[in-house]
């Protein structure tokens, strides 16, 4: 048998043995995505005094009223008021307080220099007549149950010897002052 004949026969043998199909072996994937993006918005916690400076602070027969407003989107269960006072003496006492309803715990308007019936005076902060630059001791957290846009009607006044006292007021809200966290099953 010639060389050409042998090659032809060999090729035929290969073809005879060739019996499988060759399949493409791509790694296919399937994906699923929500068409409408899921919207998640974080809330905010803020308290803003309508007055950040009172000068002079009025004596205890009177007092200066101002508001503390929850300008955040989350209800607050507490907040902190800080005073930095100058011009007085250690014997002077500068207080910030408000009237809280005995039934709803909401802030109510002052009746002159006193809390109206059915409410109780609650102290937010007490400082000496001059505590700058150290600043006053911070009030302990207190229950306010202040909804978003809720308002505390506060009053600032001093007692003791007559002095010209200046007061710088700050409202401080921490993440821990926000209402109790919730679980939502949607």
């Amino acid at each position: 048998m010639s060389r050409g004949t042998k090659r032809g026969a060999a090729v035929v043998v290969v073809i005879l043995n060739c019996c499988g199909l060759a399949l493409a072996n791509a790694a296919n994937i399937g994906t699923a995505t929500n068409v409408t993006p899921q919207s998640i918005v974080s809330g905010s916690w803020k308290g803003v005094p309508s007055l950040t400076s009172i000068s002079p602070v009025l004596k205890s027969t009177s007092g200066t009223n101002f508001n503390i407003t929850n300008t955040g989107t989350l209800a607050l269960k507490s907040l902190t008021v800080k005073q930095v006072t100058t011009g007085g003496v250690a014997a002077n006492t500068v207080t910030i307080d408000y009237c809280r309803s005995n039934t709803t715990s909401a802030s109510v308007a002052w009746s002159g220099n006193a809390c109206p019936a059915g409410s109780t005076k609650v102290n937010l902060n007490t400082a000496t007549g001059s505590n700058s630059p150290a600043g006053s001791s911070l009030a302990t957290s207190f229950t306010v149950n202040l909804a978003a846009n809720g308002v505390i009607q506060a009053r600032c006044q001093y007692s003791g010897a007559t002095n010209t006292i200046t007061d710088t007021i700050s409202v401080i809200v921490a993440a821990t002052d926000v209402r109790t966290s919730t679980i939502t099953n949607a």
């Binding site: 050409g4 035929v12 995505t33 803020k46 966290s181």
Partner: protein, 243 residues
């Protein structure tokens, strides 16, 4: 590497044609005999279409062979009683949790492994989906049956996935810093539904303080995320069937 079917077939045909038209009589004869022999072993019809000097033999299966390809697909739908991925939160506080459930259904092809990532389509990805310390976290749990929503309970068997208090930032592939998470490995039968409950949480460890209403720099407050959740699977391993 195997050549595509079409190319292999063309090569075989060209080779056969060469042999069948060879000027060498022995080669032509051997090729013709081979065609007849092959037809005989697989039970097909052989026809001779010409006489001797250019003899052709053709073998064809009389009943067409049926080959069907499967469909690898995934479809998600909200679990009954849940809003699924359309669940939203408008004012999330530190420690708040949002639970919702979805069913993920495979197509006619079996699959394997589920992967999870997100794409935040908000105008600019916010800390909600980019911060590892203040941003959202996600936990995904599988139930053997549909989750009972809105109660959020499973009457079957629950199986944790690897998404356990996972920071959303770590699976946010939009920012380039995140990567797809392998939720679980293993086979997923065709045409079946996998029931998943997602739990989104804003960390309770957030410690931001605001004085007189002025938000601090890098705040997590008042931000919006627009999240596309992407669940991916791959086809089952290729199989060899001797039919």
């Amino acid at each position: 590497m195997k050549l595509p079917t079409t190319l292999m077939k063309q090569k075989r045909e060209k080779m056969l044609k060469g042999l069948m038209t060879s000027t060498n009589l022995v080669t032509r004869t051997v090729a013709q005999v081979a065609i007849v022999a092959m037809a005989g072993t697989v039970g097909v019809t052989v026809a001779s279409t010409a006489a001797s000097a250019n003899l052709d033999a053709v073998a064809t299966n009389t009943t067409p062979q049926t080959i069907q390809s499967g469909t690898l697909s995934l479809i998600t739908a909200a679990n009954a009683g849940s809003s699924g991925f359309t669940s939203t939160v408008s004012s999330m506080a530190p420690g708040d949790t949002l639970n919702y459930a979805v069913g993920v259904t495979t197509g006619t092809m079996a699959a394997q492994n589920f992967y999870l990532s997100i794409n935040d389509t908000a105008t600019a990805s916010t800390l909600l989906t980019t911060s590892a310390t203040k941003g959202l976290t996600v936990t995904v749990v599988q139930c053997s049956v549909a989750w009972a929503m809105p109660a959020g309970t499973c009457s079957g068997t629950t199986t944790a996935t690897t998404a356990l208090n996972t920071t959303v930032s770590s699976i946010n592939t939009t920012t380039g810093g995140g990567a797809e998470l392998t939720m679980f490995t293993g086979s997923v039968p065709a045409s079946t539904t996998t029931y998943l409950k997602f739990t989104l949480t804003l960390p309770s460890s957030i410690a931001e303080t605001v004085t007189n209403g002025t938000l601090p720099g890098g705040t997590i407050q008042g931000l919006t995320a627009s999240i596309n959740w992407k669940i991916r699977t791959t086809q089952r391993n290729a199989s060899v069937t001797n039919g």
